[in-house]
Symmetry: C2
Subunit: 206 residues, 2 copies
């Protein structure tokens, strides 16, 4: 596309760098911003820059936070000996929204992936291991992607914690509520039969 | 959603104001920006603000431009007596990409819509009328949305040009190339039969 203005073209190029935003959507967004008041666009840009420059990460769980220690880690009602290990702050949000987890979190920042050059040292695994020993953590719930990288990460962490008195569990995999057995993939269906649950558990979780 | 950081929440709120971006996508975009280098995010924000503050509009056709008169209006090879009237700069892009229009454009900035409070005076209709008289324009090609608002706008403009020696035409409506007759709406199909074309035209356009 041959855009008549370099300024607009630059803006479209920047917007098109966002994940899931193609050039057509980027053009639509740029023309939308052009129609807004200059103050509105200034606020928009500044809010994003401010977020990036001033955001902090909780020193315990590495989740995004406005304070040195986040509200979840600071909450005396949360069980500090039960840690749910996740990849990103988004996963914390998702699990918090269920309202069914009473422990605290640890955000790894990804999973071990040699292909993408992500080794254990780029993740927050060392901090997690230190926490387990320091806080006498009883259980680590691994809530990572069900991929080779996720499995590798679980294996690596459990190895590091061999001498610690901690139980490593993973979230259960199975058929989602509302999904058809017919359309569930074989692996999930197989696991859901092998790891079948007593009916009482099913009722108490509903 | 109860986001652990006010900074991130503000950024998500700003991103969610963009058209077609819901809160889930906004969260994904905000967390993506958080992972980028501070310089990258600064460039992103500043490019958008700069675009809004410094963009110019062509004094003739009202299209986005880096100069007072845009490249299309300034091009001596373009027929200044043939004007294609469109709603937005995006439409100019779309028609330019076809490479089949040799005239110039006029960007209205929308269509007359009393419901949305858009009257003729908020659009660039006056400038268009002045151009028609000044440049002795021979033909106005109306390329507006096929809606009541679009039709009203065409009617309004043609009324304003009653005393001018100009032909008002509209782009042709018909069955798109590649679309099935079966799935074409009745109105389009009916028009395509009423306004059928000599076979020679069809061949020369291909």
């Amino acid at each position: 596309m041959n855009f008549p203005s370099k300024l607009v073209e630059n803006a479209i190029n920047e917007l098109a760098k966002l994940p899931g935003i193609g050039r057509k959507t980027a053009t639509r967004l740029a023309l939308h911003l052009l129609k807004q008041a200059p103050d509105t666009v200034e606020l928009f840009g500044n809010t994003l820059v401010k977020m990036r420059n001033e955001v902090k990460y909780c020193k315990k769980c590495e989740n995004i936070s406005d304070h040195d220690i986040c509200n979840i880690c600071n909450n005396p009602n949360r069980d500090q000996t039960l840690i749910c290990v996740v990849e990103s702050p988004r996963d914390v949000l998702a699990i918090e929204n269920t309202g069914h987890f009473t422990g605290v979190y640890h955000v790894l920042g990804g999973v071990i992936s040699p292909v993408e050059g992500i080794g254990p040292e780029t993740l927050t695994i060392k901090g997690l291991v230190d926490r387990v020993y320091l806080d006498k953590v009883k259980e680590l719930v691994m809530a990572l992607s069900p991929t080779i990288e996720g499995d590798t990460t679980i294996y690596y962490i459990s190895k590091k914690l061999k001498t610690a008195d901690v139980t490593v569990t993973t979230i259960s995999r199975g058929v989602s509520f509302g999904s058809d057995l017919e359309y569930t993939d074989d692996l999930t269906l197989a696991r859901s039969i092998v790891n079948r649950q007593p009916y009482e558990n099913y009722m108490s979780n509903k």
